[in-house]
């Protein structure tokens, strides 16, 4: 592969027809929520610009993001998505190992200073100097810092990288932190989810190529095109929510009817993700559609909002074994008792005063 090969040249070499190439550009534009008039810009960018090298780091994680990435849906995309980015380093997939593999990473960093995209899967750990996760004897925190130095932009891919996910749940023994906490001087794009949607990576790269900047982000630092809507607001079961028809247990009549899973602990109403629109496995389904409540995996610290199958989580961190409404009712109960006690006390005191007054009369 020559270094200056463009995406288009590369795609043609791989046997992709010009027609399919256009289809891909249009699909990308649609996915990014761009106007049709913007599509030619994507085409010209992909025809004129060389492929962006991508380094994919696997830090403190479970590789579910990588698995999702490999299974990215659209048949057209699945072919291109994975190949269109010049994936120079990814431990899970590369043939090289050990020293060779590290050399590839260092070479890409040296050859393209400020010109590669860094995708990070997994969190970094700060506890005990980061010893809880090391690769080749180097702590992941140091690897991340070193690799991010020359990156054009950093994509935090998956909930581990955006909010430390499971290992960051209370009490967080390894002091796992999102990469945003470590990388301060580079644009960081959060792509949360456990796992997240693979198309976001290609979308982000295409956007970067076309406009030379990272896509617009939401108030939580996520690409707006994918994360601006709640799962709830585009849910296939939303009509049942609005109608007030709820599943009460997983085997009741409502569940068979496909009613709303709100009372089964569905976190859709507080979760921002594209599951309900993009869906998974080639648009086959997503959890709620399949009958399971959303667990809110793309939300910060979702693992601390347990248990998953109740509408309200037990607070704080399940320590009291009560949810916020039960705590509230207890507080109201205490207030009620206090009022009764105070009223009784008042009656006693006032009665005493009256007695004393009568006694003092001549």
């Amino acid at each position: 592969m020559s270094k200056s090969e463009t995406y288009y040249q590369w795609a043609r070499r791989k046997g992709v027809s010009r027609r399919d190439f256009f289809k891909f550009c249009t699909l990308m534009g649609a996915m990014l929520g761009l106007e049709a008039t913007e599509f030619p810009k994507i085409v010209s960018a992909l025809q004129s610009k060389p492929r962006l090298p991508v380094i994919y780091l696997n830090l403190q994680e479970c590789t579910c993001c990588g698995e999702s990435f490999l299974r990215s849906s659209h048949p057209l995309v699945s072919d291109l998505i994975f190949n269109m980015i010049s994936l120079d380093y990814m431990e899970v997939l590369q043939a090289a190992a050990g020293k060779q593999a590290e050399e590839v990473r260092l070479k890409t960093m040296k050859d393209h200073p400020g010109g590669y995209i860094l995708v990070v899967e997994g969190s970094v750990t700060l506890g005990n100097g980061g010893v809880f996760c090391t690769i080749g004897g180097v702590s992941t925190t140091d690897i991340l810092k070193q690799t991010a130095e020359g990156a054009a932009a950093v994509i935090a891919y998956g909930s581990c990288a955006t909010n430390a996910c499971v290992q960051g749940a209370y009490p967080n023994p390894t002091e796992a932190v999102p990469i945003r906490r470590v990388i301060k001087n580079k644009p960081v794009i959060d792509v949360p989810g456990c796992p997240p949607i693979a198309e976001v990576i290609t979308g982000t790269i295409v956007h970067y190529l076309t406009y030379g900047e990272i896509p617009e982000l939401t108030n939580q630092g996520r690409p707006k095109a994918f994360y601006e809507h709640r799962v709830h607001d585009n849910c296939v079961r939303r009509a049942f929510f609005d109608a007030g028809q709820f599943v009460e247990s997983f085997d009741d009549a409502g569940a068979k009817q496909g009613w709303c899973l709100y009372k089964m602990g569905c976190k859709g109403p507080t979760t921002y993700n594209a599951c309900a629109i993009t869906e998974w496995n080639d648009g086959v389904s997503y959890p709620i559609k399949s009958g399971h409540p959303c667990i809110g995996c793309s939300e910060n610290n979702f693992f601390d909002n347990t248990p998953f199958y109740t509408h309200l989580a037990k607070i704080p961190n399940n320590a009291l074994g009560k949810d916020v409404d039960q705590v509230g009712m207890d507080v109201v109960g205490v207030a009620g008792l206090a009022v009764v006690a105070h009223a009784g006390m008042t009656a006693v005191v006032k009665h005493g005063e009256k007695k004393a007054k009568e006694g003092s009369k001549p």
């Binding site: 939401t218 108030n219 939580q220 630092g221 707006k224 601006e228 809507h229 709640r230 607001d233 009509a239 049942f240 929510f241 609005d242 109608a243 007030g244 028809q245 709820f246 009613w259 709100y262 009372k263 976190k267 109403p269 507080t270 979760t271 921002y272 809110g296 939300e299 910060n300 610290n301 979702f302 909002n305 509408h311 309200l312 989580a313 607070i315 916020v324 409404d325 705590v327 509230g328 009712m329 507080v331 109201v332 207030a335 009620g336 009022v339 105070h342 009223a343 006390m345 008042t346 005191v349 006032k350 005063e353």
Partner: protein, 226 residues
């Protein structure tokens, strides 16, 4: 034996109006909010014929905006209203009165300073439960509403609340928690109102409707009680 009392016009109409609109709004918001959190009613049949939860959320929103407008109006009336409509937490007398009233309510002293308006402790409760709690419940509520329209005005203005509390789930939790604050407040509020009316016989309850309270003319008021 008749007691000499003079009539004082304490609560101007806007204050009374605010009070009852607030009472209504909070009641409806609490009930609809609890239903949204715990939808206990079962709607039979096909979803197409129903919009019950949707309607409950709709009215929750309508009364939320009534509540907010009402609070904003009252904020203006702190400035425009009469002496009794003001809340001056920064005054020394306010905190002195808070101590005196606290002693009275905890039976440390038998008598309390006569208040035609609110005593300092009552005002503190309004400040914490209605104003501070109200402000936070508005912010959390608006933050959750804003999410439905990601490019809308509400989201632009209040989108910062969600990242501040780390995720929207915590925003909802806080919203619930604050709602219970209003329930606790109501219990204390009702008790204190009735207690005041019974012990001092000063027309506290009727003043909420007609605005007049009755000040004792005689200094030695306790002796004058029957």
């Amino acid at each position: 034996m008749s007691i000499l009392r003079s009539q004082v016009y304490v609560w101007e109409f806007p204050v009374r109006f605010f009070h009852w609109v607030n009472a209504l709004a909070i009641t409806i918001l609490f009930l609809t909010g609890m239903y949204i959190g715990h939808p206990i009613l079962d709607t039979p049949g096909e979803a197409v014929g129903h919009f019950f939860m949707g309607r409950v959320r709709y009215w929750h929103g309508i009364f939320a905006f009534i509540f907010m407008a009402n609070m904003l109006f009252r904020l203006y009336w702190f400035w425009a209203g009469n002496e009794y409509s003001k809340m001056r937490l920064w005054k020394k007398e306010f905190w002195r009165d808070a101590v005196t009233t606290f002693k009275y309510y905890t039976f440390m002293t038998r008598e309390h300073a006569e208040h035609v308006g609110h005593n300092a402790l009552a005002q503190l409760m309004y400040f914490f439960f209605v104003w501070l709690g109200g402000l936070l419940i508005m912010l959390t509520g608006l933050a959750m509403r804003g999410g439905s329209d990601p490019n809308g005005t509400i989201q632009t203005l209040f989108g910062w609340v969600v990242p501040l509390l780390r995720n929207e789930y915590q925003v909802r939790n806080l919203h619930h928690f604050l709602a219970w604050g209003f329930a606790v407040f109501l219990i204390g509020h009702l008790y204190m109102v009735f207690r005041q009316d019974i012990l001092d016989d000063d027309g506290t309850i009727s003043s909420m409707i007609n605005g007049y309270k009755f000040e004792l003319s005689s200094q030695n008021n306790k002796k004058a009680r029957p």
